[in-house]
Amino acid sequence: MVEGSLMLLCLIPALHFGDGTGSAIAVSGLFTVVVGMLLFVRFHRAVTLANKRMAYLLVVLIWAALSLFGTLPFLTTGTARSFADAFFESMSGITSTGATIFSAVEWLPSSILLWRSMTQWFGGYGIVLLVLAIVPSLGINKHSLYTAEASGADNTGKQTSTMGATLRQTLGVYIFLTAAFVTAYWKSGLHVWDAVNLTFTNISSGGFSIYNNSLERLTHFQQYITAFAMLLSGINFTMLYNLLVFRWDRMKNKLDQVSAYLALYLAAALLVMLGLRFAMGYSWGDAVRCGVVQTISVLTTTGSLAADTSTWWVPITFLFVMLSIVGGMAGSTTGGLKVMRMLILGRNVRKILRDQLHPHAVNPVRLNGTPVSAQIITNVMVIFMTFVMVIFFGTLALVLCGIDATEAIGATIACLTGYGPGLGLSGGFGCYASFTPAAKGVCTLLMLLGRLECLTILILFTRSFWRR
């Protein structure tokens, strides 16, 4: 199944390049298809997903392979100066991060622009698939996440069919949203080409842009459309499906997360607006627009920019850094730790306080009214810790590569959470071109780590993984 999806992912871009601009891209497309076919023929019988080890290894390999082959268009067209650059850009696309090494994207050939947007669009759905496949090990209760039914009774013994249905539903939602937003952009007066690219990068919470100054060139109305697209991209896809098919009764099992997500967004947007208005002297109109668009861009770790944020007031940028760590809802295309995990962490603290008060009472951590098992809580904790440690060591590595401290913190968190623009030179409308190759390598690794939720990769470096 996973090999199949790999094939699918390889075929469609390749078909697309047939009508692209350069023969160079056609060659790389063909090459990718051939290698994909060979791999498929060679291994498709050997893979059994029953083996957990194999699953982890496969996931990492698939993401790494996709990014590797994704470099081909950049290399064959000569748009990227070195392999490090191409790999960085490709990884940034596949992981829907949106960090770029191109200082002026408007000079790039249009086929390359579309390729960048496409990688994000695939990468965005890829993560929804991924979480579905390995989610139980990542501290999220799969049932509360993906199964459409509110109670567990409906799907006992129907695990596979539920999974298939969920896949169809989420893919349907994704395609529907894409089509809807392309139309919306088009109706609002954008060229179809721009509309497609914008939709691809924002619905996937990626953030690559085809303009040098990201969203600033769009009309205010189009910016609000983008904000809405990003807002939806941060919501659990099964939930969106139920919303779209009017099965509101089935949405109850995610109410906690979605209300926390929206509340967090509103509170943060309000803070940013006030900051922009009073500390930076924006007019109310600009403050509201930038607050609304930029905050959701950060919270969903998209990275589209309504203005050059690198010149913004320091506390706002710091708030952005923290919001990007939180991220959107689990089961969406966003990066970061996810609202659900933060909820569990916060409620667990409350539980501990209550335990101290009433040592003999049973105080479970509840999510949507159902108790969360102790196992899941500690799993979430482990993920949180790993995340923090990776941020820490990532910053350390970047500092050792000669990047200054602010920039290193910004770049690490931006790459790990999949937000994209960091602080300083790499922030705002800037790019990562000034980084040394080693620093770019670190950032590339961070993007992969962040997208695969750290543990999936780190487990490959443990002894117990390789021990027979």
């Binding site: 949180f384 487990i459 993984f465």
Partner: protein, 487 residues
């Protein structure tokens, strides 16, 4: 559930204030000996503190019942930790050393929480008596004020255990003696003994007695107040080595030290935390030493400085040597990790504590095993004893709160105009009770703190307090459940 036991809180706070007034006699006597002009201020502070203490104990706390509920333990802890440092501001205000109440409170809280952040730009110009008082506040706070309460209030009975828990929430220490009071006595004994030995050694290596007294108090309590604006650079190499050794000792669990010094080595048993502590110390010092050598220092200097610096950071003492204005990158990086990790559990140092880090790492390792083998039964063990899941959860929650505290503190500091790295360093140095952080522009000397706006100083004060009482007691008084319980 009966009514909230206000009288007990008043009684305990009153008792503590009376003892504080007694403690002020030491700096007062130094002051009288040196004729430094602070005699009047110190006498008045002591009398005033004594008066408030007596009033509270005899009127507020009359007929207090010596039994209380868990929720009241948090309140007692908080009340003691706020009332004592607040009264402790008097000497700073009366001598005119602090220009505002904010500064005085910052200095006082920094002392009692053994942080050692200072806003006094030129400590050498302060009266000797005040310097001794400043250092002495650290010494009093070194073992935790609650431990002091437990030591002086025999009547508390079972409540003592609850209080003890509320301050040291979950380091899960084995007690030194089946009776809490006895083990607390032993800890205080070890502490006093350490201080006395250090004082003697410092005087022997040629320090002035008054400076030696201040330095000894600062070192053993892992506080970090200095008596001179140039940090410890006045010290002879001999004194530096002595201070280094005692900083290292202060970062070790006092129970282990007690058994070590009383030659009950068998009773120490397996002590993984100590092994980790020493191993981490050696490794960090080695890397530091290499980095110093590479940046052009002499071998002897590099060894001494790196040992001194790592001991100072790991024990969260926070002494610094201005001889080294430029820190090589690896050293800064290591310093930051060590600040957050902090010292051993049960020591006078701050930080997350090594024991929690060990549990965290072991649980994560087990987690990886379970990812591959979902059915495997794996447990976290420290010192050959299984750590229960509930406790692991608490450790994780603690670290989560700690990191959240640093993040929120740093955010608030950026609002006050700090850059992001400075804000993060300042927040972590103060929540870990390190104080002067070599990662800051002026090595975390008074210049870094004195120039902050008032709000930022109060914020740092709150962080110091939060770090010192290990977060839970502070957070619980903001939690609605506790309010419901107590009203």
């Amino acid at each position: 559930m009966g009514r909230f036991n206000y009288r007990l809180v008043a009684h305990i706070v009153g008792m503590m204030l009376i003892y504080l007034a007694g403690a002020m006699a030491l700096p007062l006597s130094v002051s009288l000996l040196c004729h430094d002009g602070a005699q009047f201020a110190l006498t008045f502070s002591a009398l005033f503190t004594l008066m408030i203490g007596l009033l509270l104990r005899n009127f507020g706390g009359r007929g207090a019942a010596f039994e209380f509920h868990e929720s009241e333990a948090a309140w007692i802890t908080m009340a003691v930790w706020i009332a004592i440092p607040l009264c402790g501001t008097l000497p700073y205000l009366l001598t005119g050393a602090a220009s505002s109440f904010t500064d005085a409170a910052f200095e006082s809280f920094s002392g009692f929480t053994t942080t050692g952040s200072s806003v006094m730009e030129l400590p050498e110009e302060l009266p000797e008596g005040l310097l001794v008082y400043r250092a002495f506040t650290q010494w009093i706070g070194g073992l935790g004020l609650i431990l002091f309460v437990v030591a002086i209030l025999r009547k508390l009975g079972i409540g003592a255990g609850i209080l003890y828990e509320s301050e040291f929430s979950g380091t899960q220490q084995r007690k030194l003696h089946p009776r809490l009071a006895r083990s607390v006595q032993r800890m205080w004994g070890t502490y006093i003994w350490l201080t006395a030995v250090l004082l003697t050694l410092l005087i022997l290596t040629g320090m002035r007695p008054a400076d030696a007294l201040c330095t000894a108090f600062s070192t053993v309590s892992t506080g970090g107040f200095v008596t001179h604006s140039s940090g410890l650079s006045q010290l002879s190499n001999g004194s530096l080595m002595v201070v280094t050794a005692f900083m290292l000792l202060s970062g070790i669990n006092l129970s282990v030290l007690f058994r070590l010094f009383t030659l009950r080595w068998r009773k120490i048993g397996p002590c993984e935390e100590l092994v980790w502590y020493l191993g981490l110390f050696a490794a960090a010092a080695a890397v530091c030493c290499a980095a110093f050598l590479k940046s052009g220092n002499r071998l002897a200097d590099s060894v001494l400085y790196s040992l001194f610096h790592i001991a100072s950071t790991m024990s969260t003492c926070g002494f610094y040597l201005p001889q080294l204005p430029h820190w090589p990158l690896p050293v800064s990086a290591i310093t930051f990790v060590l600040i957050i990790i902090g010292a051993s559990a049960g020591s006078t140092g701050g930080g997350i504590k090594l024991r929690r880090i060990i549990i965290l790492l072991r649980y994560t390792r087990n987690y990886f095993t379970r990812m591959v083998h979902p059915q495997a039964v794996v447990r976290v063990k420290v010192d050959n004893r299984i750590v229960p899941e509930v406790y692991v959860n608490k450790v994780f929650a603690f670290v989560f709160l700690y990191i959240a505290g640093i993040a929120i503190g740093a955010f608030a500091l950026t609002l006050c105009g700090c850059t992001i790295p400075d804000a993060v360093c300042m927040a972590s140095a103060n929540i870990s009770n390190l104080g002067p952080s070599p990662l800051l522009n002026n090595l975390g000397g008074a210049l870094d703190y004195a120039l902050l706006p008032e709000v930022a100083k109060w914020l740092l004060t709150l962080l110091m307090l939060a770090g010192r009482i290990e977060l839970f007691a502070l957070i619980s008084i903001f939690s609605p459940a506790y309010w419901r319980q107590t009203t």
